[in-house]
């Protein structure tokens, strides 16, 4: 048996497979299909300071080997999270990571401060990359000063592992990565969705109520892989790879490119049991290639 454990700063994962925020609900949506405890961890749907209704319907468009979403951070806010959702999450026996979003630095700080008090929240992932909200969101993740400002502010109130999730909609992903690392990120996850658009040519209208939305799925994998490779070469903190992962082979590509762990997003919609298959596939690969520890794959690309 191969050793699948990895470490993201203080976080010990039983295997490198996490689920991406917004694609795995709060875990229980998948209880019928898999044992969620078998995962390295789950990153739950974004939590904001206040209750948010999200964007109007339609929020989804299918694209070639991908999809656009414009959910817009629908959630009941941090108070409700602490009161109603958190107690259920504590029943899981794996790492629970909260995805923290907002429109203002104060908002982020408010959510992070409250998450800091929750024992069973092992880490937070700062979402400075949501393309589906009018204010804040992606705007924080597309300039170095604002990415640093929000990371610093949250760092001051958050003691545990702080992951910062980057937006791919930038000229230089390495600049942003270095900025948030300097500002105190313990780990960097990437990528969030790429800003895209879909049009219904017969109706002559945008498909999404918000006109543009976030592109995810296998279509974006080559871009995500490139960014993970670029970022992991320049930062010292562990990198978590996200974007279009649909198989063990995809996951291994991200590890080779420099990621210490991966997140599975849209693929959960196609196959709700995909995460477990990917974990099994990684183990098979390690055995086949006689590699003792999955850690050895990180950055092991031969160039």
């Amino acid at each position: 048996m191969a050793d699948l454990t990895v470490k993201i700063h203080n976080l010990e994962l039983k295997n490198p497979v996490l689920t991406a925020s917004g694609t795995f609900g709060y875990g229980r949506e998948y209880d019928d299909f898999i044992d969620v405890n078998d995962l390295g961890g789950i990153i739950v749907k974004a939590t904001t300071s206040k209750h948010r209704e999200g964007n109007p319907y339609p929020r989804m468009a299918e694209t070639p080997m991908g999809m656009l979403n414009a959910v817009g951070l629908q959630n009941k806010g941090i108070e409700y999270f602490v009161r109603e959702i958190y107690p259920k999450l504590t029943e899981y026996n794996t790492n629970i990571i909260a995805n923290v979003s907002d429109s203002t630095i104060e908002g982020y700080v408010n959510v992070a401060r409250k998450m800091n008090k929750l024992d069973h929240i092992a880490a937070i992932e700062l979402n400075i990359s949501c393309p589906n909200v009018k204010e804040g969101g992606m705007a924080f993740g597309t300039s170095c000063p604002s990415a640093m400002a929000v990371t610093r502010a949250v760092r001051e109130v958050y003691d545990k592992t702080l992951i910062v999730k980057l937006s791919p909609n930038v000229t230089s992903i390495t600049d942003i990565a270095l900025a948030v690392e300097e500002a105190g990120a313990d780990s960097i996850s990437l990528i969030n969705t790429l800003l895209g658009m879909a049009i219904d040519s017969e109706k002559r209208k945008p498909v999404l109520s918000t006109i543009t939305g976030g592109l995810s799925g296998p279509a974006i994998k080559p871009i995500a892989l490139r960014m993970v490779w670029q970022v992991s070469k320049v930062v010292k903190v562990p990198v978590i790879g996200i974007g279009g992962i649909a198989s063990a082979s995809d996951a291994i590509e991200f590890l080779l490119a420099g990621a210490s762990a991966v997140q599975i997003g849209t693929s959960n919609f196609i196959d709700p049991a995909i995460t477990i298959k990917i974990i099994a596939g990684i183990e098979e690969y390690l055995i086949k290639h006689r590699i003792a520890k999955v850690k050895e794959l990180t950055g092991a690309l031969i160039t």
């Binding site: 109007p56 989804m60 299918e62 991908g66």
Partner: protein, 267 residues
């Protein structure tokens, strides 16, 4: 009712007309209990442009044969590909999903289906009949050839038909059918079809103080409540059609209980 991912095998794929197919899928293990109004999500294989699963209502369940029937209307690449399945092919399917219709007992009920909206009504009529209700089934379509399998409902209730061109049953929109004026005392109305039709029926129900359940069709990415893409505005805010629905009491949907503007009104 635990949701499951399964490979079902196509027993038969019957073309009903140029646009509709009846697909019978067999499970090797005994089928779990399902409710009328619930749906399945199918992975369409073999098409590079159908990335996401496609949702379909459960048309009929045959627990003896261990089969599920789906009524499929060809509208795009995914449904085209499904309509070409052959006996023996296997289908990757997640089921049962969503909340079904609530089955009342010993009442006179009206089921209204328009177009492919009839899909869940067979299963529903069967269950309502079994629970001692007097079942009236009104089916509407553009033309006679759009009225699918109407004979099969006769075992469970009275069938009424309306077509826009008058080629079968009464002529006119389904919402203009005489049953709405001739009958009055329905204990419950169930409705499934185009948005405008459902709103008109819901409005009629509201005016006559009849509880009314409608089955919605939103675009879905996951079908299991994980993505929040399929929301509808309810009186309590945005809720997911795939988990809170697809069947809703029409009175809980925002904007459904006021006079609709679509010009499809019943009065």
């Amino acid at each position: 009712m635990k949701k499951q991912i399964a490979k079902l095998v196509v027993v038969e794929n019957t073309p009903l007309n140029v646009k509709h197919n009846l697909l019978e899928l067999k499970s090797h293990s005994p089928l779990t209990e399902m409710l009328p109004g619930q749906f399945v999500e199918i992975k369409v294989n073999g098409s590079e442009s159908t990335y996401l699963r496609r949702p379909f209502s459960i048309h009929r369940v045959d627990y003896d044969k261990n089969t599920i029937h789906l009524l499929i209307k060809v509208v795009g690449k995914g449904t085209k590909s499904l309509s070409e399945l052959e006996a023996g092919d296997s289908v990757d399917i997640i089921f049962p999903l969503g909340k079904g219709f609530s089955i009342t007992e010993n009442e006179e009920v009206l089921l209204v289906g328009g177009g492919c909206g009839v899909a869940p009504l067979y299963f529903l009529a069967e269950q309502l009949h079994r629970n001692g209700n007097t079942v009236n089934i009104l089916i509407g379509g553009k033309s006679g050839e759009d009225i699918l399998l109407h004979d099969q409902y006769k075992a469970y209730g009275n069938v009424f038909i309306s077509t826009e061109d008058g080629s079968l049953g009464e002529k006119g929109m389904v919402t203009a059918h005489s049953i709405f004026s001739s009958h009055a005392g329905f204990g419950k109305i169930y409705c499934c079809g185009p948005d405008g039709m459902m709103r008109a029926v819901a409005h009629y129900a509201e005016k006559h103080k009849i509880p009314c359940e409608v089955s919605l069709e939103n675009t879905m990415a996951c079908g299991i409540g994980a993505c929040l893409c399929c929301v509808v505005e309810s009186v309590q805010g945005n809720v997911c059609v795939c988990t809170e629905g697809p069947v809703f009491e029409s009175s809980t949907l925002k904007g459904w209980t006021v006079e609709n503007e679509i010009g499809c009104s019943l009065d």
